[in-house]
Symmetry: D2
Subunit: 424 residues, 4 copies
């Protein structure tokens, strides 16, 4: 969709400066014993999954303000994902959401292949009612008091697995909105037991080489209690299900002030860390662009992950999960993929031998300075070179804007009018 | 809409017990020098405004699950408000939201009169785009960088005043979602200046006997910064506008842990407290039913208000502002009106002379115990007697259920299907 | 220490009114099928442990403002605890803190017997350095990088067990301040492993009929990360140790907004709830008097506990853990014991059959109302009657003040001058 | 105290690399039209005040773990401050705390001159009781119910001004711990009025060319309410006092999630921003080292300040206010001064013309990217060159360690033993 010549033309204007900056940084890193090419190769090997639904403009319960060229269906979304990957080289897979993305698997595979994309974790949806649905999820899904509703929700998850199998996916992410808006509305203990029972039914249908991810969230859409409210409940779930069950951490799903990188560390300890939903936030589950609010927090999460590389059984799934309300979603997803990659590269620069020594000596000041030294390294040339060598864009956003892609799809995809959110 | 005979029949089954409980409580209070009838008369004089939109089932950005008999328009909503007031005797006014509630003023007045309702503060809406709107509010309204958009938003507010004048309203509440989702998206200082400039334009159109309420909110729908993010910015706004400008406090619009009753106290000190939006919350702007999460906090707010009675210039507007996602909105609004009234009555029982003496002696333990003694008084018989004497229902919810009102309107109002929120 | 005649004299002035109020409430409860005497007997059977150190005036890092008659040692503290129990009848055990309370076991047992007190869970202290200590805990204790420091901390805990055995205690509570003030200061994974290893060493020394409680806390004294930061880490600890290891929940040790009653429910599900530290808080680990900030939250916690009565293996330890900075500690502890007892009694009034039915029907409004109906019941006459019948004071605070106890001990215990906290 | 030859020797080992890195960065910045020397000169002109008390090891209410060579008095502290300034060139003034730092003004001036230091804002202390004090601050100081206590606190502040005048200080910072631990303990409105009345008495004694800073804090040491709890109350205070009264923002004194840079912007709008207390925090008023937890937040604050340069009447006071519990305080203060300077320099690199244009176009993505581009610039060579040219150390920490200063003072200053904090 983005002509390679456009990328090449834009890259040509940056190449000389990039080479100079890359060499300069390389020299500087080499003084510390770091081989910039090795780091760049790590960057090239990095990929994060894009959520299909992230390509459309998001909204709040108050309103949604669509942009131009909103994707009409999963095929439009895959086209948009193709652009993201082509320009960044760092987003080679897509995570589907069922039923929003239901389509003929052969068509999906063909479209994905066209863009060099694969399919990451499948996402089920039991937080909304679909038009043809027998039972309503108003009062819950997998944890509903009514067995028929639970069965319907289980069945839907099994269908997601089935679709995923046909697409080469290897994981199912289960996030439910079940909970309560009032003290007393549910019996919290029995509700959790019903949830676990349903999850076990799903687990029985999980192929041997699949994982199931339990995703916690402190609140929203339930505002008093949520069945899987934190990593503790998520851990209990994964423990009771079995080895194929892991916990997924969404960076925006925690109580204020919580130390997320420590949760990462604890789940690694427990052998139950499965993956991430990347985004950024200031207040609640704001779903803002990754790395735009607290970039150091993102770095600290990656610091744990890079540190844990090589841990037996640790095989993480990385996905972006954001809502793009005021930007072009393609631009936000490109920048987010790059910011996540940036934190990964910065974390790869941490002098771990020095850090371990400072920790052993309780030299808190220098240990902390060691992390900051890696974080403040401007790795932009590494990221740019990784893209350049991969045939992606040195400057993804400007190349995208130069390509006229948005205007083109705007002419093909009908205009969507603004709409209120859930409050009206 | 609710036949008086139904109320009377239900009340008859409770009257004997009520009399006994009321007398017993009266005797107990009299020992402390409190005249129960005086307190009951305060309860009878209490009224809180109902938000017209609160009569419909609310939702989140994830989904909305409508109930049966959803109101189709403002006339249905006024019918529902009529039920609420008839059964509680504590909700005699309605707060309209423009443009959702636009209709012929004469028809609105006739319908209100039918139910014995009046019109409270008007609410403008510049956080959503309307179908026929020239300028979009995607990037702000009263604080937008574009003058034409600001002018449109000002014009809308002036129209709200105009409509309100025809309905006997005396106040305009301005809440805007303007802000930013990214650091740098807006220049926070200039954005605030644009907001103030627009507010001054609205203020110029405010009738002499009207008030304009500035309502703050820490976040949502903007997730990095909000123009009127807290009471400090709201205070600056009211100060710069003039005497008719006051601050409105919504109980759910604060940062975690914030002492809301202290903000009430400070705004009273500054002569700028104008009114309340009542609801309850645990995490963010959860918009849960008043008094269901932290009833003591609601009491402490009322404790400040009752204490400040008689302060020159203090004339507060009280409104419910909630989202009813899992209950019958009429039931939630009735119970909420009662819970707000309950806190008001409990706060009226505080022994203020004793409290002042303990405060003077730094007897923190007994001062605190004095508040709790009032709070733990079970004033249910007072509330019930106030309703009984006013011809309302001793037990509003059960009487409502017995009336069959919901089933009746469900047969008249078309079924609404579930829908996703802003995220799809 | 408090002469029984004083209690009897004060009670005599209240007895007639109490009888009337008790009977009236009894009649009212009987209409709902509740036997007030059965509830009162539950109240009489209730007891919460008092922390020995709570009898002294607490402070902050900024300052401590001692009162008159500060206890000089554990024997003075036990005298104060004796007063608390004598006047409330609800605080029959004391929780000791080692090394602060080290003394000859025989003397301790004799003093406790004098007051009718027993010894609850033992508390170890590895968050402070003692004068004679070989290794410093500045950089940690059970999780320290240095094996000798860890061994010293383990040894101290084993000594606490040994002391506890001589006193009839059956549990050890382990709370440590270990963590970090800087990202990078510690390797969070290895630090946790060292902690677990130390805990296993302690566990090996635990008598068969003892429990060990793991207590989590989000922050303070460590301000970036804490080894046992939440119930998830506490759960992992208890799971790895074995059946005698349980989790202890301190109400003030959570992130903002966290649903504590849900954590209670989850730990019950996991078979790992061991006990509580009661207090109240608005911001952090404020250690305010129980039930004075959010009484409904305390009720909701008790609602879970009462609901879970009869769960096999559930045998909870209840202790107050507060800091009394501006009140007479004896008064605060008496009132706190009563407020905890009050919430327990209120929770005992929940109509659980009705609640379960509403939950089954997804009648959120009535389910929630069912809890509130129990909470708003003014159970004061039940608490008073329970005390009266037990020979304690109907009005503990006024009886205490009438007794002149504080003035008496002030004359015997030397005056303590004010002092700065940790910041100077 | 640090021999210049040591600095020169250490610098000599870094000079060649520094020159290369500085030139390389200069070339890169020049491509964007930025003159690195101009930025470096800004860095050289930067200075932040050091709090005298920060040179001692801090603690919590649980414990304090002193290090070696703790300063015994203000003269030792000034020696330590001299080291900090000599090695960083960025900390040329000291902020005194009375009564901790009371001494003969002539001696203080002589000692300061010896180190090239001046005296920044004076800090009063009415949150602790001093041994010789007539009235206790247990229940408040400037807002106490008792007139004699308020008068004593006012008198103390006037004395601080008097001392400051003799030292060349031009500002008084007032922070009080007054508040309440219980709902009802104080009448919040009257308490505020008493506070304002006392502040007016202090204001009357303020020299014409002085400023008085009102500092807010949400909680601690008061745990239910605090008299000046947020910037709204601080603003009201400054407004009621007059032109010489401004608000001081401590980065750690806010509710969770609060947007601090927005408060900065609002206070600039109101003409009431007076200064800062820099530190970092994750949970409460953690008083951690500046820039170590959320460096981007520090940058965003500086972004507002640099943007507002040239605003008439804006003349800010910058001070570090931290507690160094696990590091050598001299090292922490040096690194903190550098991190604050770093954020200032990064903020100076923001392309404000481009930013303004993006803001005008609602190009949120590029506006946000513009800030991040400045933030991620590794300005280390600029900071190092600024120090190098000023005769300070290219690497302050390693130079300090090489100097043996700590060991030297440890041999002169008596060892301090560990102590419990306020809780014992």
């Amino acid at each position: 969709m983005i002509d390679t010549t456009i990328i090449e033309a834009r890259n040509a204007t940056h190449a000389a400066e990039l080479t100079r900056d890359y060499d300069t940084l390389g020299e500087k890193l080499s003084r510390k014993g770091v081989d910039i090419d090795a780091i760049k190769d790590r960057a090239k090997g990095f990929s994060v999954a894009v959520p299909s639904w992230g390509t459309g403009t998001g909204g709040t319960r108050f309103a949604r303000f669509p942009g131009e060229g909103e994707p009409r269906d999963i095929f439009d979304k895959l086209d948009d994902c193709g652009v993201i990957h082509k320009l960044t080289g760092a987003a080679g897979s897509v995570s589907l959401h069922i039923p929003w993305d239901k389509a003929d698997p052969a068509d999906l595979l063909a479209k994905a292949e066209e863009h060099g994309l694969s399919f990451d974790a499948m996402n089920s949806n039991t937080f909304q009612d679909q038009p043809d649905q027998a039972q309503s999820y108003k009062f819950g899904s997998l944890s509903h008091v009514d067995a028929a509703t639970r069965a319907q929700a289980v069945e839907h998850n099994l269908e997601c697995i089935e679709i995923g199998e046909s697409l080469g996916s290897k994981a199912l992410t289960v996030w439910i909105g079940d909970g309560a808006n009032f003290p007393g509305q549910t019996h919290m203990g029995r509700q959790f037991e019903r949830y676990l029972s349903s999850m076990k039914d799903i687990y029985k249908g999980l192929p041997e080489d699949w994982s199931i991810f339990s995703e916690h969230k402190i609140y929203e859409p339930a505002f008093y209690s949520t069945v899987v409210q934190d990593w503790g409940s998520s851990l209990l779930t994964a423990q009771e299900l079995g080895d194929k069950a892991k916990c997924l951490v969404d960076l925006g799903h925690h109580a204020p002030n919580v130390n997320i990188e420590m949760i990462v560390s604890r789940l690694i300890h427990a052998g139950k860390l499965g993956g991430f939903h990347f985004n950024d936030s200031k207040y609640g589950d704001d779903d803002l662009d990754s790395g735009t609010i607290e970039p150091y927090r993102l770095f600290l999460v990656w610091n744990e992950l890079v540190d844990a590389e090589g841990t037996p059984g640790l095989d993480l799934s990385h996905m972006i999960d954001q809502s793009h309300n005021v930007t072009d979603p393609i631009e936000s997803l490109m920048i987010s993929a790059v910011e996540i990659q940036r934190a990964y590269v910065q974390a790869s620069l941490v002098d771990r031998a020095a850090l371990a020594a400072y920790q052993q000596e309780n030299d808190a000041l220098m240990a902390s300075a060691t992390l900051r030294a890696a974080f403040r390294t401007d790795v932009e040339p590494i990221l740019q070179m990784a893209r350049f060598e991969a045939g992606a864009a040195i400057d993804p956003v400007m190349t995208y804007r130069a390509s006229g892609y948005r205007a083109k799809v705007a002419s093909e995809r009908p205009k969507v009018s603004g709409a209120g959110g859930g409050i009206v």
